[in-house]
């Protein structure tokens, strides 16, 4: 059996790569991809612990996460469309209305 640390390190790495994308990219489509990476990092953890502790729930949850990621992408794409329509760009740094 592979030690759980490796799974966790892998998940952390994937998550941080996704986060890196969120932090440095401006295109909303990159954002969606990065968020997908982060969600899948969580999935790795779910499955890893599921098999480590012998609990099937983690596996089922990973499935749910995949489904929710699909929903999130659907909404995200819709938001990007509206963004584009209102600002003419898909750059997430352009809309600044949500502040003080």
């Amino acid at each position: 059996m592979v030690a759980p640390e490796y799974y966790l390190l892998l998940a952390a790495a994937v998550f941080c790569i996704g986060l890196f994308g969120v932090l440095t990219r401006r295109n909303a489509l990159y954002f969606l991809m990065s968020v997908e990476l982060m969600l899948n990092a969580a999935n790795i953890n779910f499955v890893a612990f599921s098999s480590y502790y012998g609990d099937l729930t983690g596996q089922v949850f990973a499935l749910f996460v995949i489904a929710l990621a699909a929903a999130e992408v659907a909404i995200g794409i819709g938001i990007i469309l509206v963004l584009y329509r209102n600002f003419g760009v898909t750059d997430v740094t352009v809309p600044r209305e949500m502040r003080w």
Binding site: L19, V92, T93, R96
Partner: protein, 683 residues
Amino acid sequence: MVDAFAYVPAIVVLPFVSFLVALAFGKYLPKGGAFGGIAATAGSFLLSLWVLATVAGGGQHTETLYTWVSTDGIAAGIGPQEIELTFGVLIDPLSALMLVIVTLIATLVHVFSLGYMNDEGERDLPRYYAGLGLFTASMLGFVVADNLLMAFMFFELVGLCSYLLIGFHFREPGPPSAAKKAFLVTRFGDYFFLIGVVAVFATFGTASFVGSESFPVLAEHALNGEFDAWTPFGLDVGTWFTAVGLLVLGGAIGKSAQFPLHTWLPDAMEGPTPVSALIHAATMVAAGVYLVARMYGFYVLTPTTMAIIAFVGGFTALFAATMGLVKEELKQVLAYSTISQYGYMMLALGAGGYVAAVFHLMTHAFFKALLFLGAGAVIIAMHHEENMWEMGGLKEKLPVTYWTFVAGSLALAGIFPFAGFWSKDEILYEALVHGLNEPLLLGAWAMGLLAVPVTAFYTFRMVFLTFHGEPRTDTARDPHPIRWNVKGPLTVLGVLAVVSGAVNMVPVQKVLGLEGIDFLHLWLDGHYGGFSELTSHHYADLGPYSSGYIAGGEIPTVLIGAGVSLALALGGLGLAWKLYNVPEPAEHTAALGGIKTVLYNNYYQDELQVRIAQVTAGVASVADTFDQGVIDGVVNGVSSVSLVSGDRIRRVQTGVVTHYAALLTLGVTGLILVLGVLGGWFL
């Protein structure tokens, strides 16, 4: 059984509610909130009567309603180690009587205000009625207070309300200045009062008025050596108690307008006349005398304080009366008569005449409220002209006002058998019989006696100038009519001014040997109900005075005293009659020569106080600099720091998604680090 005492807090709260209502909704209420005020004070009056009846039926009541601060030994090493600051009510014969007086006068003043303020089309009526409500509530709170600290707080509230009401017409130049003066002068006295309150707490660890643990009782035990009271600098307890008594007396002197802190009161005439009636008869000015009466058990223990009270009172009685001689304005005369009459009360208290003082407080409340309301009626009729030389001949035009005013004036002048005669006579009698062995007290008595003809003279000078003779102006020939809401209160008070002396006809009892008609004596002696340590015979037992009689006995002394004071009063009245009850009266003040100028200028007391104030201006400016620079600086600094930092910090919110994400990331990282370090995950 429904217990009247359970409703005592309601007596105080009702006018306070009317204050809140008038303040919040006065604009929308008919008559600017007047009816709410009338209803509230009338309700308080009825409750007070109930309480009075319950006390008459043998009740007394004391209860702690709220414990504000309860400490265990924070008073590090100085004085008592446990101090409780509480709020509570104390109902004994004195406070029950005072409740009735205050609520009655307040109700009548509210009704009168309908005529004086509403019918005259004054503006800002909600503010006026709110002020009246708070004023009444503060005074009632003061009356029922069961300890010195609570009394002090309501005492200050009374001062604040007087400031608000005296300065009611703040758009004119005079009233704001008068209000400030009243506030500052009484505050000067209250400063000593505050120190006195702290001293009482430090000495006894309690400021309660009643009970075996009350400070007057503890003081008594301390003087007997049964209680170990704290004193500063190793002072003798007697000396220290005298000092504490004098400190508290400072507040009473300021509020009751005794020399030398009387200067605010004549200026306070700038307020609306009903307010003057309330201030002079029932609330503010009465508060000082009431305070001394309330803690009389403490004062009687220190002969020096008693002598000072008596002397100050006697001196003020004469001193203020002489200033009233030459005044030209109706309300000014009444103002000086108020100072003078409260001087009598102080004289009575200092002379050991506790009952006499309360008696005079009561009768004076009735006839002085009557006189002020009568003056208010005259002022309405005269279209707000107050100079008596512009009046004259109002007798036929204003019969109700005239007859009630005359009744009040006869009472004020002390003419038999009006209320003022009985109470003033008893004061002078007490001062005389106790003063035969005390030169200082005898001097105070002499001054009080001298003030009698002066009082009668200026009172009837006022009556004759206002109502008799020929009308001297067009306004006086055709006065403005007055309505029921003015006549009603005048009539009630007129009747009381005539008959209220009957509650305590001690001379009649002594001369005719009738027992049991000195109701007020019995009342204040706990005959009906009350606390044994707050009774007049208890005070008499503690007091420093012994009685002496002239002409070989009690009855001749009574008769001679009453005869002399009545003769003097009639003499003053007769002189006023001769000089001023003529169709075209002249001033006659030239006969006074140089004294006239002095009297006109009130003995230059104002100028003297201004001079003293200028001496202390240096200290004040240092304090001002400290206040402006350090105190305000700190406050402003705090606010600008939060303003600036708020302005900076809000820039974190850029509205850019990426920045929020970065902050979230850093936040999570920080959180993990903190939890990790605290939880030892990194070891």
